[in-house]
Symmetry: C2
DNA sequence: AAGATTATTATTCATTTGTATAACAAGGAT
DNA sequence: ATCCTTGTTATACAAATGAATAATAATCTT
């Protein structure tokens, strides 16, 4: 019964931090915030619990880092989808909508992860700050795409109108994302994205559905 | 240091259960699920922690009852708003949208409460069942209103189209609710509801904005 | 190759938490 | 009035949790 000490490799700080953050996200997504303990995170990361405090001064700080990583990741994902397509603003806008209404964004686990973070925003100012920054960036991206789309359609619109459209577009995307993520299996493959593009077209008064038919 | 026993009143089962459920909702909304302990709930309800187990066999069961109460309350609120106005379907639909995009529905604390529950749906089948029932009811209400609105506008639409519109309407409401609840103070009084009615009009192709000008 | 550094593991600690049990008293029954 | 029922408080307990500290070994330095 003489248990030997666990063997291990020494890793660099950035590597471990990233790994711990990744494990934290995985835990929160699958277990929820309440059941995400430092021990559970450590197991998922393949280390012992004590190591967490070597890199993060508290569990709160780790969760904060995880949220920061999550927000950045979602933003990057969204921007990539736009950059991947042609420079036609209508096509870009359609790609933006589609990317946010397909896997892996639309996913029950991802929704659960998001909800776990949202819950903490009200009482944790640091979390709130990260959230605000991410949200504003998202809205700015949406408004830039809308502005460009209107310009490409030869329509002059006021900044106030762009703001309104940004709010509405953001809402339809978020709302469809919610529905798609919650109702497992109700939507056929690609259906949600199609409804999203149709709805965005109706809201903006621009036909985005045939935009990618070059 | 001879602490006297706390004086108390004996109350009926329904009274206590309701009070404990109410305290639970309040705790989750303000503290978050993680910091909502049986002791905290008891304090908020003005009783001692032991009493909770007298009425609920576990904390989970209490939280479940609280969620059930929450879902029912939200549904009733929404239906009341529709029943309060005239029987004109367009006006009813507008009222439905407005009710879901005004206080007290749009509120950061309410969002936090909702998020706390959503988080648990993935791992708790009982919570998932309550959620599904509430969601389906909500969607059915929306589709009924949409059907009636199309009929009143003299437009014949297929059930599939109604379904699509229901999804989209639901999405714009949820999305705007999210935005309004998260971004404290960005929206002027009534602005969110106005954007909602405008957006719903654009989505459905029905003018709901002037519907209440009798 | 030996020593120094520190990343990592192992162990310990004080609190908190859900739950279980025991003691008590408020209000009704007789 | 006295007894009885049971709603309610008070106390106890085991498990879990975040954090702190001690021990160890992997890798770098020289």
């Amino acid at each position: 019964m003489n248990a030997r000490r666990k063997s291990f490799r020494r890793e660099g700080e950035d590597f471990r931090r990233r790994e711990l953050v990744e494990a934290t996200l995985s835990c929160i997504a699958t277990l929820g915030m309440e059941r995400t303990t430092v021990r559970e995170i450590a197991i998922k990361a393949g280390v012992t619990a004590g190591l967490i405090r070597h890199y993060f001064s508290s569990k709160d700080e780790l969760v904060l880092a995880a949220y920061s990583q999550y927000v950045g990741q979602m933003a990057a994902q969204s921007r990539e989808a736009v950059d991947e397509v042609s420079s036609n603003p209508l096509i870009q806008l359609a790609a933006f909508v589609k990317a946010n209404l397909s896997a892996p964004v639309v996913d029950q686990t991802n929704l659960s992860l998001w909800a776990s973070f949202i819950e903490t925003i009200r009482t944790n100012p640091a979390m709130a700050a990260i959230h605000l920054e991410g949200y504003q960036g998202y809205r700015a991206d949406a408004e830039a795409l809308i502005s460009a789309a209107f310009a490409a359609s030869g329509r002059a619109v006021s900044p106030e109108h762009v703001r309104r459209m940004g709010i509405a577009l953001n809402a339809i995307i978020d709302g469809l994302w919610l529905e798609g993520s919650m109702s497992q299996g109700e939507f056929a493959e690609g259906e949600l994205a199609r409804i999203g593009v149709e709805s965005a077209s109706a809201l903006l008064g621009i036909d985005l559905q045939n935009a990618d038919m070059k």
